[in-house]
Structures are given as structure tokens and as C-alpha cells.
Point group: C2
Chain length 413, copies 2
Amino acid sequence: MSSSVSPLAPKTVPDMPVIAGVRLATAEAGIRYKNRTDVLLAVMDKGTAVAGVFTKSKCPSAPVEWCRAKLKGGKARALVVNSGNANAFTGKTGRASTALTAKIAAKAVGCSESEIFLASTGVIGEPLDATKFDGVLGRLAETAEPGDYLAAAKAIMTTDTFPKVATATVKLGKARVTINGMAKGAGMIAPDMATMLSFIFTDAPIAPAALQALLKAGVEDTFNAVTIDGDTSTSDTLLAFATGAAAEHGAPKISRASDPRLKAFVKAFNQVLANLAEQVARDGEGARKLVEIIVEGAKTKASARKIAMSIANSPLVKTAIAGEDANWGRVVMAVGKAGEPADRDKLSISFNGIRVAKNGARDPSYDEAQVSDAMKAPEIAIKVSLGLGKGRDRVLTCDLTKEYVAINGDYRS
Amino acid sequence: MSSSVSPLAPKTVPDMPVIAGVRLATAEAGIRYKNRTDVLLAVMDKGTAVAGVFTKSKCPSAPVEWCRAKLKGGKARALVVNSGNANAFTGKTGRASTALTAKIAAKAVGCSESEIFLASTGVIGEPLDATKFDGVLGRLAETAEPGDYLAAAKAIMTTDTFPKVATATVKLGKARVTINGMAKGAGMIAPDMATMLSFIFTDAPIAPAALQALLKAGVEDTFNAVTIDGDTSTSDTLLAFATGAAAEHGAPKISRASDPRLKAFVKAFNQVLANLAEQVARDGEGARKLVEIIVEGAKTKASARKIAMSIANSPLVKTAIAGEDANWGRVVMAVGKAGEPADRDKLSISFNGIRVAKNGARDPSYDEAQVSDAMKAPEIAIKVSLGLGKGRDRVLTCDLTKEYVAINGDYRS
């Protein structure tokens, strides 16, 4: 969909190792796009645990409703993702479409329909013709191989300008286990929750309930701390799959998230989530600047989060950054509108380490030329010190550019 | 500041009658702008009642703090408004600046400083040099005349592309009374509350407490139902002044807002507020479309308001309208993210009277060409029927264009 890669894209793409028990395949089903892959099938070995977190939208898509219902079983054998059509706001047709997709996939993989997980992204409100999966999924199941995560990440893109993958390898007990992840953004991105599609795969033997607890805790400071435009998709889906294959070479079976043997794993797992979430911000529609908002000295972490989000979602702050203007007045505005405890006369604000405001007024040492120069950087950190308490939080966003308006003003045309 | 008048500007400007007991004067104080007026002085006769509502920002400007404190007296003799500098986030200097302005104004008018009301709009975070008012206000007090409301409205503009005035004449008892109003927008506009500067003048004899009650009730469905960008200014101020001069030709003195003799007055008063609020939306920064969001069938009016605001503040809905795209999927998204009761399968959505979605799916009679044609209109009404209850509400907003980004990306340069 997009013509040029975001200037904020990571300079290198990691080599993605295989994960025992996971096989991938992609195809061109012609759902909406031409001459590109738009379907991903991931086939998992028997015994794979699954966990998920989803949009908090009151009008979720049919695939989100499907996954929520199937998550209760805790087991997964396959994931089917399509791009180009979100199968959202498609009513009974949408439910029928997910059921048919699951039926086709279950037959292709040889499992129960309740072990099939589905995600769709793209246009909302258009019926998704699931018959297009007939044949395609069977062929994909036959050809699926342990491997090309980058190709998989490409098949799930919509307005993304680059595929998003991340990986980590870590010790669990005495065995090495691997965590691979992929994500797609890049608009309609706000927390509550996963704010896009993302899929995590690991060979660690972790029971469904423990995996669910890890995922829920992990998103809080990663995917839930990213916002592009404050808009929450009907389709936000983050699924994690643990095949357990590493048990064969000695990884201990984990049944509780609080298991102390998980410590290194949790850290690596959260790093993969954080890496993917940051890539989503780096690919925000039309983004030219990655913006980190740090709020400290708030009454609580929750209060710091609300204020950080108020700043991150302010069109006036975001357009000022696009204009390379250290407009701290708009940051004050956004602090004020958050409705959280704040004392104007204790506020300090800095842009990329240069303090521009102190004790509720312009910093006496403020040097316009120095600040203007700092604002030319592709990564901008705005730090707000409230001076009230010890609450601290951090969120990521991007600037608001004319390109965002262009991308979203003719998405369907 | 802006180069061309909004295409949504009213085609005609009303003749503004004089209001007995109110005299106006404007000047070029050179606070920020060159070759235009930037100071307004309104002088009111003794006995004028005052009421006000202000931003809910936790970091209000110095003039807002000043007005809030002085409102307790209930009496006003003068209003001083400057454009170009908001005197917000200016710390102790800001407080000193408001005190000095009030002192100069009180001397010029010959009243107590507690009867002076102040409002400032423009850049945040820059010290306001109140000594610039010295001399200017004295001259203005001498030359003030019962009159030119349009000139007054021009003096308080910032990024506005046209001055905003409204008037109504109505019977109070057997006497005719007049209500004049002016407002300025045009960005950093979200409710909670007045979301800009607006001043209402009337010769009706209404006591301060009654006037305050009228104003508070009146803004709910007018200024509080307008949003441009979801950003709330630190300076939002709406003040109402009632000189009481109409008592001389028989208007009854009103001490309670519930007085039945006020019925026609309240209607006219609210119409003036609604007219000004709509003009603010029509002059939203970069706006090319006036957008009315009507939500019906919600559980309650408050629930309908939240959903309407979620739609009105969605960047994705607003960019779609800029692109003349009846993207009802994004409307569903915004309904979903509001967090209010909604049932996807009961939702119906129409654009300018053409139903595009019904019972949670595309309307079977949907005709893309017909809808595309309707979206070319400069005024777009989006109606969402939830089918849950009798809650109904309406808010006004505008589209989000590249011009909004341009205006706000180089506001200071």
C-alpha cells in the first residue's frame, strides 16, 4: 500500500531462527491486494499452548470473538491470518466467514476447529469471502516449513512500510529456548490492547494459564504503551504460542507464571514484545519522528501513564514535533487536560535532554537555537517532571504529518 | 495569521445592535502581531453582573485564575482581552502580569481591580509584557463607544479566519432585551469547557447567581458539544455580562435562573451560544467540512455524548471525511473504543441521510456512487443509531486536513 519505507525503520533485520514445532507458509489469495502475499498459515505441533490479549473495543471483529471463545481450550494447532479485509462489522456474514475459515483450516491441518486461531486486518465493513481460503489452506498446510518468519511478517502487512520481526534466545533451566515474534501496525493504533496484530512463538514448555499471565503482564509496558493516533482497532490481537518442543532437550515444564526458573525467559519475552511495539511506533502512518514521552514525579505510575498518553495523543503536540518545534506550551496543555494531579508551578519539561521549562515557566537558560537544532533529530524524547511524587512511566508515539492525513484520506480509493 | 477565509464561514454577518451599558474599544498594542488590533477593552456600567465558565485544565493560564477568583464578587466594570500571547505557563511573571494589567485597567476605567476581568490568547509559555497596556488602556477607556462588536471580535482573533459574532433580541417581561456575543477559536478546541474565548453581553437585569446558572446550563449542548482536535486549552474562557440597563424601560429584575419569565430569554441566550459554538467548528484549523455527529438509541444522553465525542475526535474518522470517504468502518471503530454500551449487530449508520450500515453490516441497499456524491457536500451529518435506548446527543466537529498539520506545524515560525 505504501510507497516508501519509513525513515525510522530499523537499520537491520535479525536472522530469525526456526522454532521446533512451528511451520509457516504464505500465499497470494487475492483477498484485496494484487501481486503480494496476503495469507499466513502457521501450523503448530500437538500440545501447543496458546494465550491471547485482544482489543477492548465494544464492537470487536468476528475473528476476535472467535479467538476469545477458543482461548478457553488453551490449545492451538494452527493460526490463519489474512490481510486486506478485517472481517469486522460484517454481522452474521462475518461469523459465518470465520466459522468457514476455521473449518477449512481444521481440515487442512487435521485438527479440531477449536484449535484454529484467526486474525484478519484491513478494510472494515466489507464481507470476507472465506471460500477464497478453500484450496489455499490445504496447499499451505502441505508446504509449511519451519521457517521464514520475515515472509510471514510480510504477508500480514497492510499500510506497514516494513515487516516487523524480533527474536530472543534464552536459557530455561539448562536448555536453550527461542522466542520469535512478528507484528503489523501501522494506523488505528492505541492501547487497550494489543493495538495491532502480533504473534509470538516459542518452543518453551509453558502451560496455557502461565503463558496467559506472562502475556497479560508483558503487554502493559510494551504494546499498551504505544499509541499512534489514539484510535483503537476492532481487530487488535496478540497471540502467543508455546509448542513445548524444548522439553525434549531438557527444558522444564512450567505451569505457573511465578515459577522462579522463568526469570530470564520473562525478561527475553518482554524484550521481544517491547521490540515489536517500538517497531509499530517507528512505522506509524506518515511518521518522520519516533517520540518517547517520559513522565516522572507523578503521584503514581497510573497517573504518569495517563499524562504521558494525553501528551502522546495530542494532535497539537504531534504536529509541533512534525514541525521540529519544541513547543512546550502544548506539552503543558496536554498535561493540564489529562485531569491528573499536576502543579503548573512545579513542572519541568525537556526535549532530548535540553530543559526548556522549569518551575512553571521558561527555563532561564533556554537557548532557542540549541533546542531547534536538537529537534531535527529523528528520535525525540520529551521528559516531563511533575515534582509531586515517585510515579514514572514511558510511552512511545510518533509525529503527526501531512502524510498521515494523505494515507488516511484515501485509504479506500 | 491565516491566509484565506474558511469555506465554511457564514455567508452573512449579522448587524450587531448596541447594548446599553456596554462600550467597546480596540487598539494595536503590538503584543505579537503587526498591523492589526490585538487588544479589546469593554467597559460596563456600574451594577453589571458577571458569570463565567472556564477550562477544566489542571494547568490553567494566569488570566483564568484571575477571573475565577474575581467571579466571586459577581460584579464587573471592564473586560480586557489580548491576542498574540496567552500568558499561560508563565509562572510568577504571569501572575504579576495579570495583576499589573488589572491595575492599569482599573485606573483607566475608575473602578476596583476586583471588577476587572481578563482573557489572553495566543502563544503559551512566553512572558506577557503588561507594561504595553500602560497608556493604551487609558486611551481606550476614553474612546470606548457603544458599539462595534465586529471590530471587537476581530481584535481577539488568533488563527481564526473570520470574526465570530451573534445576536438575538427577545422580550423579557414587556421590555425588549438584547444579547450580543463574540468568540474566537480555532484550534486547541475540545470541551471541558468553553474551549476558546467567548464573551456575551446583555442589557437584561439578571443577578450574578442566576446568570451563572444560565451560562453553566447553556454551554452543555453548545460550547461543550464542539470539538476540533480533542485538545483543551489552558485559557478557555466564556464570560457573560448583564448590565441591567433594560430595567429602565421595564424589564423585570431576575434573581433566579428558574424564573418563568426567563423562558424566551434562555432560549435566545442558548441560541447565541449555539451560533457562536457552531462558528468555532466552522473555523476549525484547516477545516473544509463541518461535521455533525448525531448519536441516538444510546442507553443515556451521557452515553450518547461519549460515543459522539469518540467519533468526533477520531483522527481516522476525520481524515476519511477530509477524503470524502463514507468510511463507516471507522465510525464503528470509534463507537467501539468509546467503552459505552453498544451492540455491533444493532448498529445503523448514515451519512447525510443515506444509510450505509444496518444491523451490524453493510446496508443491502448501499450504493457507493450515491454515497460518494453525498460526501462532496461541505456539511456532513453522521447519524449513528445504537438501538439500545432513548439516549440522544449531538456534537459538532470538522474534518482533519493537511492544512491542520501545516497550520500547527509552523505556528511559531
